[in-house]
Each structure stands twice: as C-alpha cells, then as structure tokens.
Amino acid sequence: MPQDFQKDKPIYLQLMTQLSSEIIRGERKAGDKLPSVREYAIEAGVNPNTMSKTYKELESMGVVEFRRGQGTFVTEDYNRLEKLRTQMKEEYIESFIKDMKELGFSAKETLDGLQSYYEKEDDG
C-alpha cells in the first residue's frame, strides 16, 4: 500500500526526513545506492517530480551524491553524515521543547522529567 503522509506538510520535506532517518539508523549506509527516482516514486506512491525534488534537496545538502550514468548514492563523507545526525537530534529536541513550553512546563521541570524518565527506563 502507498505511504501515508502528514496532510499539511510538503511531501518532499517528509520524504527528506524519512530518507535522512533511514541513513542515521544505518538502514542506508554511506556509499549505498538509492532507488531510481521512478522506482522510489512508485514505492512511495508519489509524483516523480516530488521525488526528484527530494533527491535534489538532499544533494544540495551534501547528504547524497548524484553520479552521472550511475544513479544517486548516500555520501561517503562521514563528517557530513555526523552533522546530519546532530541536525536531526536538534530538530527533534526543538519540536519537543516547543510543545513542552506551549504546555507551560519550565526548563527545570522538563529536564527533571527527562532525567527521571531515563532512570526509570534503565531500571526496567
């Protein structure tokens, strides 16, 4: 079945996040070949133009590389991949903190909450 997308966010951004997550989790490794734009578009059930934009954006970020006549590959620049990992962490933290602030939690409450959450998790 086709993928479900969040309805109020551009699809290319969602696909960029998805691919980046797969790279960070190691499901796609440095130097791995990505599916062709069309194959991946069919798999995800999206417009090939959207998929092509996703690849172009990731390429301009330096996360993937297009090699003429061969296709698109995950970069082998480990510094870039490490940076991607940091960026991703910061994005998730930012969105979490934003939610917590909106709910009225102070920085201390949030930090204490995180700490006791991790402690509980380690015990269990």
Binding site: P2, D8, P10, I11, R38, N47, P48, N49
Partner: protein, 228 residues
C-alpha cells in the same frame, strides 16, 4: 501546451462552462476537482475534441481541438469503452490498429503490471479489471497529453492503488502531461503537481499541491475554503 481561451460551453439551456481560461503544460500532473455537474468532464471532452466550445478557443499545441486532435490526446472516458465480445488481447490489437502512437510493448508491460491476462473476455471482467484494461489502453499510447475522466470512480481501494502506481510507473513526464478529473482527491493527492477547483462552470482556484501543504493546509481544506 493546452490552452482554453475564454471558453464557454452551453448545452441547450444549461451552461456547463463559463468564460474559462486554463493552461496545461507538459511535465506535470494536474487534477481537476469539483462536484458533479461542475464542468470537469466537459473540460476534458473539449480538450479531446469530442465537444466544440460555444464561445472561445481550445488549442492543443496551437492547433484547434477537433476530432483529429486524438492523435495528440489520449482520452479515457468514464464510460465503458471496450467492446465486450473482445478478449483483452483482441482489444489491445484493435486499439493498436487505431492509433499510430500505440506502443505494443508498453501495453503488454502495463497489462503485466496491473496483473491482467490477455485471454480473458472483456464481458467477463470484473469492474476493477475493466478499469485496469481501459487504463492499459490509454497509457500504452505515447500521446503527449493523457486525459483521464474519473479513473477511480466505483473502484475499490486495491484497484485504485494499483492504478495510481501504474500511472506513476508509465507516465513519462519528460514527454507527457496528465490531466485527470476526480472525486477521490485524498488518494490521488500525493501524485498531483497541481489542483484546479471548478464550480458551476467557473474556475475558482488553482494551486500547486506542495504550496498548499507549505501553508499548513491539506487539499481538502483548501477546497472547502474555496467553496465557502
């Protein structure tokens, strides 16, 4: 490019389209959405040269759209359009004989992709498989413009899904444009570049789907806002 220039279409006393201006360029997939009787099908039939405008001009690559425009425009009707006494294979042969741009190999690829076998009789096909066959015949043509009138109407989600994948697989956006009308906007939305909203024969909106999403909206909300 397809151009509708101040197009009005009246049927006897009723007006189907009212001073419509529209352009469609190669390389994109556009969905025309609107209620029943809003003028969606009329728009496609005018481009396919099956209807003549009451006023205004319909041009396909600068040529007036008339019956001969079917060389450039592959039109899929929402009605059943394949003789029931044919087998799937005979239907393919027949359409191959009718259209110069019919690509036999592609037809067989689409059949395989949509899991149809060519010895089945058309009259014995399920509704879903008739839909798949119509789609095969339309997509097998290497026409620069592909028009699909309600390609999902009355089909179950599995068939709709396989048709969506078939579209992505077999449309060549470097050479072709696809225009389709639909009610099933949620299913087709990820495949569209643009949506055109039409109401009572008037174009009330046109937008890139990604721009709608960029404004934190979805296409259905965008449409509801236009209608109110």
């Amino acid at each position: 490019m397809i151009t509708l220039d101040h197009v009005t279409k009246n049927y006897l006393n009723t007006s189907a389209l009212n001073q419509v201006n529209l352009e469609f360029k190669k390389g994109s997939i556009v969905g025309i959405v609107g209620e029943n009787g809003s003028g969606k099908s009329t728009t496609l039939k005018l481009i396919a040269g099956l209807l003549r405008p009451t006023k205004g001009k319909v041009l396909v690559d600068e040529k007036k759209a008339n019956r001969l425009i079917s060389r450039k425009v592959a039109y899929m009707s929402e009605l059943e359009s394949v003789y029931p006494f044919f087998t799937v294979g005979e239907a393919i042969n027949y359409f191959e004989s009718q259209f110069e741009d019919f690509n036999r190999e592609k037809a067989e690829e689409v059949l395989k992709f949509l899991q149809l076998s060519d010895d089945q009789k058309v009259k014995n096909l399920s509704k879903g498989n008739k839909g798949r066959l119509k789609m095969t015949i339309t997509l097998a043509r290497e026409a620069p413009y592909i028009l699909l009138d309600e390609p999902f109407a009355g089909l179950d989600p599995m068939v709709r899904n396989s048709i969506v994948k078939g579209l992505i697989r077999f449309i060549d956006l470097e050479k072709q444009a696809l225009i389709l009308t639909t009610h099933e906007i949620r299913e087709i939305e990820p495949v569209l570049d643009e949506v055109v909203a039409i109401q009572n024969g008037n174009i009330i909106g046109r937008e890139h789907v990604e721009s709608i999403r960029d404004n934190q909206k979805d296409v259905v909300t965008w449409m509801e806002e236009l209608y109110n």
